[in-house]
Symmetry: C2
Subunit: 102 residues, 2 copies
């Protein structure tokens, strides 16, 4: 968990990996194939994701199966909380306005 979650998500390739792992766990080679990236590149991104807690690994024969862990994403979601209140409030204000128009 050494690296900041936002910094991890800043890299588009890593978001693509997460999107894929959201559907199903996957081996490194499958990810590289599916995303059109080289195997070393995928491995490096997976290392970053793993160290930040976004994924966990399991060894199956000679493959490493990576699986999504949602906890860092929940942290991002929590960070968004106070801001979400802002637009929720604005929506409330809009609703009140619309009601007063009727």
């Amino acid at each position: 968990m050494s690296v900041d979650a936002f910094a991890v998500l800043a890299e588009p390739s890593r978001r693509r990996i997460l999107e894929r792992l959201r559907r199903a766990e996957s081996s490194v080679g499958d990810l590289a194939d599916a995303l059109g990236m080289s195997q070393p590149t995928v491995s490096k991104h997976l290392r970053v994701l793993r160290e930040a807690g976004f994924v966990t690994v399991r060894t199956a024969a000679q493959q490493r199966i990576y699986r999504l862990d949602v906890r860092p994403l929940r942290a991002v979601d929590d960070w968004l909380g106070p801001y979400r209140r802002l637009w929720a409030d604005h929506l409330d204000a809009l609703e009140r306005h619309l009601e007063s128009q009727e």
Copy 2:
């Protein structure tokens, strides 16, 4: 809106600026003072934030007053949507499990 929202948020200084603007709109100098950053640094970050739509500016005399705009944050929130479903589902599963235990 040229730059990716996640890349913008990856910079801790910019998140601090957003946190401050969440409480109240502010001039460049006030931000620099409050956050202990140099004025050019703040201006530079504000430019990035502005080009990505996170803030809007208004000119008041010789000051530029910056104000938060939540739309890019809503985009991030939307991106999180499918993942939020994941842990919501897991919670549901947990609840069902607990119910079956009673």
